[in-house]
Amino acid sequence: MGADCAIILVGDDPAALDALVAPVRQRLSRNGWSRKSHDPFIQVFAPTSGRLEVARGLDGHGVVIGEVYDGEGQALPLRARGALGCRRLDAARARIVCSDHWGRYLLVRRVEGDVAVFRDPSGALDCVVWRKAGVTLISTSAAAVIDPWLPDGIALDWDAVAALVARPGEHRHRLALTGLQAVAGGELRVVGEGVNRAHQIWRPAEVYRDRASRPEPDLRGTVERSVRALAGDRRWIAEVSGGLDSAIVAGVMTLDQRRSVAEWVNHYVDQPEGDERAYARAVAGLHGFSLTEVRRDGLRLDAARLAACAETFRPAANDIDPDYNDDIADRIEATGGWGSLTGQGGDAVFFQMPSLLIGLDEIWERRGRARWTVLHRLSRWLRRPLWPTALVKDWREEVRHRAGWEHPWLDDLDGVPPAKALQMSALAFCQTFQGPAVRNRLGPCINPLLSQPVVEAGLALSAVDLTWGGRDRAAARAAFADVLPPSILDRRSKGELGAYYGGAVARHLDFLRDYLLGGALAEAGLIAPGLEDRLTRDALLWRGGHSHLLSLALTEAWVRRWRERLDWRIP
């Protein structure tokens, strides 16, 4: 069960809705779920202890779940959210909602007998839709309690599972379950009897292309507004990794918000490259809070633990380190915190990726006015030749890499230069961090740097400006210099946990060998013949690949769990 779980049922008529709901009410109640909203055509169910707010449309034909803010970062009160839910929801209206508001929300509205669903562009709440017995179902969660409502004929899509196995750990928008339709962040999906239309209202490429018609983004102001709005007056478990991004989040909170943080947590390992306490302590010292330092000691990895991460629509890539996530969830429980705050997404939004392609953006955006100094500083940063041959080589590699991009955000990249496109693909990958994880079981995980306004600010700034002077996240460093300790401002490295995870996974190779080579994926012929050779300490030590194995194990757990769930449904 997760803090962000909810399922919305919209009937073609009240009788169809009642007929679908009635047999399942007891099951929901036994599993701690209750009805949060009830209208003749629309009902919403969620865990009784869940964190999602439900605002029913004032006319009973729409609903908004989650939190919505205006451009100034003011949270819309219940009545205003109810008003959002009672206006006609078409593409034009979705554009207005998207440009006037942001947040972590789903907006659902009956439109001429069909159901329009708009998922906020940040993708903070998962959204999957399907039809069953004259009812449209929209769910943020794949909790097993909803099994009786899953579509008839649902099955594993083995082609899609094969794609997951081919690139485990990557965020794949397409689901590997037939009969279910994933809705992307910023997508308007209209579903009804014989109707299933998608309209991508918000695209990163459009934010970039429209930048000239908007004021120059104010990175500092935007991040401040977003972090402060999302933090509100709640009690948080805040992560301080020792990196730049979480330090920025800590730095822009108000004094009162910092005081109401229940714990500032830093996880460290024995390996010096993964021990970032000195940096995290500097953040704590600057802002006058005390740091909770948590020493990591291996990974607990077994079938039951992996199964606990598998109650999801996709393999739980966000649970690649369930011990870490468990620790955060335990702290939320122990302190009565609302949820957790992270700096996830900063790498993509502020542009951490060292890439010569930034030079191509300079040429693309300025044509004949491209600046020699920009190109030279970039080459100096990357220690790569300034010669065009190096640029061409990287561009060719990038084109090859693009073949694997499959997120709707990346469908239309016309007019987008290569490094900016790279940033967009990184943002699409960051949807993983917005996905469900065991850390969310009691309180949501909020990633303010992936909120719509911050993402839009990062997209509207050119990659050249974001890395000005040949420095990753240079614009962010400049914008937040006064709220960061010098050690983090000047830092050139990132924490590195390869040896820690590699060693931890190596201690579970016996389990992984049995689990992967004798599991559902192997039975389906999806395990590559060479995998056995990679399941040795020697192979991990030389070639790495711990995250590949962990992601594969999460995929295996997901397939096993869904096979089990779908088997139970067969009469």
Binding site: R383, E496, L541, W542, G544
Partner: protein, 218 residues
């Protein structure tokens, strides 16, 4: 062999000529200069390396001896011990631009370096006995800054091995010097090299190197 290892100096062996080693977590990484290759001894127990001496259990030493990586008789410990990881940066470089002479020097060195494909043994032999030079951190910082401005002009910049050799030669040309340090990491295995003097990092930011364990210094 077991008797020899024990009789000579307790449970101790001596790394063979051209073999360098460092403990990385639970594993031992070895550099075999003659073979121009890195090796790894996974889960090497309590085996540890002190200079040229390998100390540990008889079983572990026999594993090394079986691969002819250690031998039982003592050998002169004439190697420069790998330094601790550096923690300090060079002083800030003055505002400086390369001169034509710098460009020419860099060009000559680059041409000389890229035409060779040296092994680590070649490099070790070539640079191990270079003469002492002056120690001047400010001058060093200035030369490194000039080098960084010149490097992008090269048609091919290679990886760390080429870049470190280029920088070392460029510093030597100005009567300056630094230690050439080779480091390794595991999970996955990567080898890297850089220049440093004492605790001062010359070629890169010190915090980027914490992941590496020094195995050899030239």
């Amino acid at each position: 062999m077991a008797d020899a290892l024990r009789a000579d100096d307790g449970d101790c062996g001596w790394l063979a000529e051209g073999i360098h080693a460092v403990r990385v977590g639970e594993d031992l990484v070895l550099l075999d200069l003659a073979a121009d290759a890195y090796l790894c001894l996974p889960e090497c127990g309590d085996l540890r390396i002190e200079g040229r001496r390998a100390l540990g259990s008889m079983d572990d030493l026999l594993r090394l001896a079986a691969e002819e990586l250690v031998h039982p008789t003592s050998a002169p410990d004439d190697r420069v011990p790998p330094p601790a990881l550096q923690s300090a940066r060079l002083p800030p470089a003055p505002p400086i631009r390369p001169t034509l002479r710098d460009l020419a020097t860099f060009g000559v060195i680059w041409l000389d370096v890229v035409r060779r494909r040296p092994t680590l043994l070649d490099l070790s032999r070539r640079y191990a006995r270079r003469r002492r030079r002056r120690s001047d951190p400010d001058a060093l910082a200035a030369r490194v800054e000039v080098f960084r401005q010149l490097l992008p002009l090269a048609p091919w910049t290679g990886a760390c091995l080429l870049q470190a050799e280029l920088l070392l030669r460029f510093l030597n040309a100005a009567d300056l010097d630094a230690d050439w340090v080779f480091g390794v990491r595991t999970f996955p295995f990567l080898a890297h090299c850089w220049l440093q003097i004492g605790e001062q990092c010359v070629s890169e930011a010190p915090e980027t190197l914490t992941v590496y364990r020094p195995i050899m210094v030239i």
